[in-house]
Symmetry: C2
Subunit: 372 residues, 2 copies
């Protein structure tokens, strides 16, 4: 009998687990939100991940449940655990990914470096934070944000009035506006039995709050930075009880500190380069980790890897034509598509290239530009 992994959510992260699952002989099954989703090839069920009965039925014949996203409600996660299902990452860890205030409080407890922050209940408290932090700050809804949604830079307290109304007395998160040199991301895999393997720290570039490019390993990173970032991610994985892949999004400040921006407890856009640029891809590593199999070698296979997202992109047959055109000009570009209907700004695929940094960046960007 093969090992059986059940993935909740049929998006591109589940889709990209299929390839390593097939190679390793892991039986991968997906609970998709609808027909025709990115991971439909492995979908054995379609249903609502917020419904405990649906999820329990899906989980009946698998060795472990894991996730394409962090949105499965805590009561559903608890029901799985109560039914004896192995769930990785587990509900206790996922709480920290589901609520940014809970995450900030926990990171403070374990002493992880992060921007100044506060839980603010009203405009007066927000104004006080602004007054203490140079008049500008970042406000975030504690739940439901992603890809730049639920995040806003404000210079006056009334700019968050709608969120105070929406959250009806619950606090929202305010953070110091960090003066950063660049953004980094540090991934680490952790097994339930404790083994941890960090990946090289990478540089990420955001456009309109959405990841657009990743450079791996992070260019011009000192040995100390590489070491500090890896240790920090391991400290967080352990401190928050994360199993599977953890991505720690970081600010590298102008005064050479690193601060935790966000966490993701699953394979992450900042790790897509590993599909073509590392001995073990983050998707294979996630499967190994959640199954408590020994972790793979995270070493890069080339001097550098560059990932460029395909955002938006053309529809239907036009997409096929663009793949052909990009492939014709750039035979070394690795094109990954998600089988999603394109919408402006939506991530529908990405391009990886490996080699020396300049050549990889040129190839990945030039190939991705065919999809504009």
């Amino acid at each position: 009998m093969s090992l059986r992994v059940g993935v909740i959510g049929g998006g591109q992260l589940a889709r990209m687990m299929i390839a390593p699952a097939v190679e390793l002989g892991i039986d991968i099954r997906v609970l998709a939100e609808a027909e025709g989703m990115s991971a439909s090839l492995a979908a054995t069920a379609v249903g609502d991940y917020r419904d405990a009965e649906t999820v329990l039925a899906f989980a009946r014949d698998v060795d472990v449940i894991t996730f394409d996203h962090e949105h499965v409600p805590q009561p559903v996660l608890r029901a799985l655990v109560d039914a004896g299902v192995a769930v990785h990452p587990g509900p206790d860890a996922l709480r920290f990914a589901q609520d940014k205030l809970v995450m900030r409080a926990r990171l403070a407890e374990i002493g992880a470096p992060q921007p100044d922050w506060a839980a603010v209940h009203d405009a007066a408290q927000l104004q006080a934070f602004l007054d203490d932090h140079g008049g500008r700050a970042v406000v975030k809804t504690p739940r439901g944000g992603y890809d730049g949604k639920g995040v806003r830079v404000v210079a006056s307290a009334d700019e968050a009035d709608d969120w105070f109304a929406d959250f009806a007395g619950e606090p929202i998160l305010v953070e110091e506006l960090v003066s950063f040199r660049r953004e980094l991301a540090q991934q680490v895999a952790r097994r339930p039995s404790g083994e941890m393997v960090p990946y090289p720290v990478v540089e990420t570039v955001q456009r309109d709050g959405v990841c657009s490019e990743v450079f791996a390993p992070a260019p011009r990173a000192s040995e100390r930075l590489v070491e500090v970032a890896a240790r920090l991610a391991m400290q967080i994985a352990e401190g928050l009880g994360v199993t599977g892949m953890l991505a720690v999004e970081l600010f590298e400040t102008t005064d050479e500190r690193i601060l935790v921006n966000e966490l993701a407890m699953r394979p992450h856009n900042s790790g897509h380069w590993t599909q073509d640029g590392a001995v073990t891809s983050q998707f294979e590593q996630h499967l190994r980790a959640v199954l408590d199999l020994p972790l793979g070698d995270p070493s890069p296979v080339a001097e550098a890897a560059v990932m460029v997202n395909i955002l938006g992109g053309p529809q239907g047959e036009a997409m096929t034509d663009r793949i052909a055109a990009a492939a014709a000009e750039h035979p070394s570009a690795k094109i990954h598509t998600y089988g999603k209907e394109p919408r402006p700004g939506r991530k529908v695929g990405h391009v990886n290239a490996v080699g020396d940094l300049d050549a990889a960046a040129y190839t990945a960007r030039a190939a991705a530009a065919f999809f504009d």
Copy 2:
């Protein structure tokens, strides 16, 4: 609409096309011989590939038909072509892979270097060939041989009596017993529109007529050898009208010539190293080629890649335990399994490793040894 590829045959070669198909956004569908085969994840039909009706029904909604093996009978292939289905490689090319006498005759026509050979109808003709070639030779059944089956070294004509009887008046193939230094394999991809991309020539090691190890690129290969092998494979791909991946198995003789041993018109065991050791794997390249998409970069990503087959291997849960044990000791080993019931000597998976040649060979062999 995605491009749709229909693969006839549900073995490991079809299975290993799934990963690149998913990443490139190609809709892959497999006609499997039975339930639960290696490529079952992508199986949309189960049936007999010798039955034209079954195959025509399977081919109805795909852009191209390709193969996990070369055994689809010519009348079935012709029925596909007559129905307007794109078939790659096509029937004319597959004839040369299906009948070794037809292949030898065609290679002679195009002037490809090969061992001395003859079509012999009876023991007297075989004896004459033996007398001309030092008293020993290799006899082969023209059809149905693979992995050492249908091949026999003989020193006297009566050792082929059973085959003369089986083939009832049809000739069998006899070949000079080549004094070779080592065996090589040269792969090339060719699109219907003509573009060809050769891979680096590799060294293959056979045990009991079955491929056991591959070293890529072939160690200590002169520039001239690399060039000659690539050109030869391109000459054959063109001369035989092959589309998709072609593998040319070669002897490197003690007097430094190369001679064509066998051909395979599909992804081939000698190219499994490309999954982890080349920018474009042979499985992705085959899909690109048969869809007439631009071909990918065949360059190695590391100094060397070594592939070691897993032959036989343990059953069921024991297999999972061995994967875990091998992975624990060798984090950089890339383990690929075929989801097949193990039988002694049966190929049930392989291990790739990349790096410098010695380290890669050590890792691949040591990890594969866990499955003995």
